[in-house]
């Protein structure tokens, strides 16, 4: 009986193909919107998490801030040594200095930043080498004119396909040889493009670009078993002591935890996704109302058919089941088409925004189940109305 009811419903839908399609459009759009939003939200979260983890998890970044008198006090080598040696659980400490420069190659110039770093910085900040090599110990010690360029520099100054390795580029008046290309570092602590930078041995940058031994900021990577709050407290205590701050005086430096940023951003994206998906879900409900509307029209249109079915012995429950099945089948079709549409949309949008495409079986299944449920809920009233028609009246209906 159920099989027959299903076949009947399919026939009825095929009989009015165009109308059936238009009827389910609301469901199609609703399902497609919900799935696409959730899929893209997930993709964005994963993408952001990947970019942030490129900073290195379990990394603290320490930088000076102005005190109440507006004095800005940088760090020095001794601070780095102290952190490395006096705090338990510290794995690497890497200081850096930076200076804005103009990079010139082949007659083209490009505004960028030179960062004085060490190989330890590469470890602490998880900077990978895409091409070429890191600095040698000798280059670090001597402060040689060698550099590792970021992806943005590669794109802006070099002809695609040519290797920059071994080329001489000029940074302001200093000429240096490219020994490596860094992998994309993703978004940084601020809103700057970390790929728009030239890395050089820190000694060289201090000597030739900034003219002192200061350290702008430094990164501390630490053992994953150490609690990040305990680590932050230890660093703050040590630095307050080294910077001779009295009790009651504010810190003239700041310590940020990349893991905390990570969590905040991920949860923000999660909340946004939920809000957008909820808005999209409203269109599902609107789609359900559309189904109800057309089912009511259909019941009126087919009043005589209902009368015939009742005359030949269909029970009210059987008439109700027929119309309910039609509504549910319509909605399930809408759900399926919506899922296909969402798949296409998600793939296309992910590609356009270079996000990863992650198929989420749960949201697809859930959306399908909800569309079937909408069929039941919004099909119920029209089906009930059909089943309660008076057969004599129905047979007389024009």
């Amino acid at each position: 009986m159920w099989g027959t009811t299903l076949v009947l419903a399919l026939k009825e839908i095929r009989r009015h193909l165009m109308r059936s399609f238009l009827t389910t459009l609301g469901i199609i759009i609703g399902v497609a919107a919900v799935i696409t939003m959730v899929t893209l939200g997930k993709a964005a979260t994963v993408d952001i998490e990947e970019q942030i983890s490129a900073l290195g998890s379990n990394v603290l970044i320490v930088f000076p801030v102005q005190n109440e008198q507006g004095i800005w006090r940088p760090f020095d080598d001794q601070d780095i040594v102290a952190v490395r040696e006096q705090i338990a659980g510290v794995e690497a400490v890497a200081g850096s200095v930076s200076s804005d420069v103009t990079a010139i190659y082949n007659g083209q110039d490009w505004d960028t930043r030179v960062e004085g770093v060490s190989n330890e910085f590469m470890v602490a900040r998880s900077v990978d080498i895409a091409e070429g090599r890191q600095f040698t110990a000798a280059e670090e010690a001597a402060g040689d004119n060698v550099c590792i360029i970021g992806q943005t520099i590669l794109e802006e100054l070099f002809v695609p396909g040519t290797s920059p390795l071994g080329e001489q580029i000029r940074l302001n008046k200093v000429s240096c040889r490219v020994v490596g290309v860094a992998d994309s570092r993703g978004i940084g602590g601020g809103n700057q493009d970390d790929d728009n930078s030239v890395l050089m041995p820190i000694k060289n940058v201090q000597r030739r670009f900034v003219g002192n031994d200061n350290i702008n900021n430094f990164a501390i990577s630490y053992d994953t078993n150490v609690d990040s709050n305990a680590m932050i407290d230890a660093v703050v205590d040590l630095l307050r002591e080294r910077r001779l701050l009295l009790e009651g005086q504010n810190n003239n430096f700041d310590v940020i935890d990349t893991a905390a940023i990570n969590e905040t951003v991920a949860s923000t994206v999660g909340t946004l996704t939920a809000i957008v998906a909820a808005i999209a879900a409203i269109s599902l409900v609107v789609g359900g109302v559309g189904i109800m509307n057309i089912m009511l029209v259909s019941v009126t249109e087919r009043t005589r058919e209902i009368g015939i079915r009742m005359a030949i012995g269909a029970r009210a429950s059987e008439v109700q089941r027929q119309f309910l099945t039609e509504a549910v089948v319509l909605c399930c079709f809408g759900g399926l088409v919506g899922i296909l549409l969402a798949f296409g949309l998600s793939v296309a949008v992910s590609a356009a925004f270079t996000l990863p495409f992650i198929f989420d079986p749960f949201i697809n299944f859930l959306s399908f189940a909800i569309s079937a449920l909408i069929g039941v809920v919004f099909g119920f009233f029209p089906a009930r109305r059909a089943s309660q028609l008076d057969p004599i009246e129905a047979l007389r209906h024009e």
């Binding site: 030949i312 012995g313 269909a314 029970r315 047979l395």
Partner: protein, 245 residues
């Protein structure tokens, strides 16, 4: 020739509406129809013929009186039980054919069997057998729109027959047909009656009533008189009532 009573109406009344607008369509109908009978119900328009047929067909319930179908009182049955009674024992033929549009003759004929829970192959076989009885097998795949009125009514008869009903109820089955098609339909009904099926038919045409074995005349919601012929077919009886629709 006549067997045991199948349909017994005793003092059936039907009032439509309430209060001042109340209208007594039936005012105490007594009628017994036996197995194997072919009854023609005649009478002026508005005399209560269709109302009686609807009650006999369990599509409507009387306001008062007793209706026994095969000895069972129908008014005690629930709505669903009346549906099952129609499904099992009754076949309907209407003036307006009432076929499903854009649905083939075969599928129209199969329709009642869906509610008998038959599988597709069995439905098809039974429907073709039924279409064969009305001579429409070559038209099985045609939709009502592609068939003449007479052919459509024959499909309707095939649909009514497909469940092997005990009683065939036909309310003005030839009302929408010209006289030639009407005669074809009447001969078909007379044939079916000869093969054992009980037929109750409403008509206002004396020529059509002549095919019946019994003619019941209605007037103002009451049975005015009943004529008994010798047999169906050529027995010429004279309907004394004006057959105005």
């Amino acid at each position: 020739m006549s067997g045991e009573p199948i349909i017994e109406l005793e003092g059936i009344t039907k009032t439509f509406g309430r209060g001042a607008a109340a209208f007594k369509a039936l005012r105490g109908v007594n009628l017994t129809i036996n197995r194997g009978d072919f009854v023609a119900v005649m009478g002026a328009s508005g005399s209560g013929k269709s109302t009686t047929m609807n009650i006999v067909g369990c599509l409507d319930t009387p306001t008062s009186g007793v209706y026994k179908f095969l000895g069972n009182e129908v008014q005690s049955l629930s709505k669903d039980q009346r549906s099952l009674l129609r499904r099992k024992y009754l076949g309907f033929v209407f003036q307006g054919f009432n076929l499903l549009a854009r649905t083939s003759a075969l599928e129209n004929t199969e329709l009642p069997l869906i509610y008998h829970g038959m599988d597709k192959a069995a439905r098809r076989e039974a429907a073709l057998k039924s279409l064969d009885k009305v001579g429409l097998v070559p038209w099985a795949e045609h939709t009502p729109g592609e068939l003449s009125g007479g052919q459509q009514q024959r499909v309707a008869i095939a649909r009514a027959l497909v469940t092997d009903p005990t009683v065939l109820l036909a309310d003005e089955p030839t009302g929408n047909l010209d006289s030639e098609r009407s005669i074809e339909i009447m001969e078909l009904l007379a044939d079916l009656n000869r093969s054992g099926i009980t037929i109750v038919m409403v008509t206002h045409e004396p020529d059509m009533a002549e095919y019946a074995k019994t003619i019941v005349h209605f007037k103002d919601g009451l049975v005015e008189r009943t004529e008994y012929g010798s047999k169906s077919g050529n027995g010429h009886m004279h309907a004394g009532q004006e057959g105005v629709a």
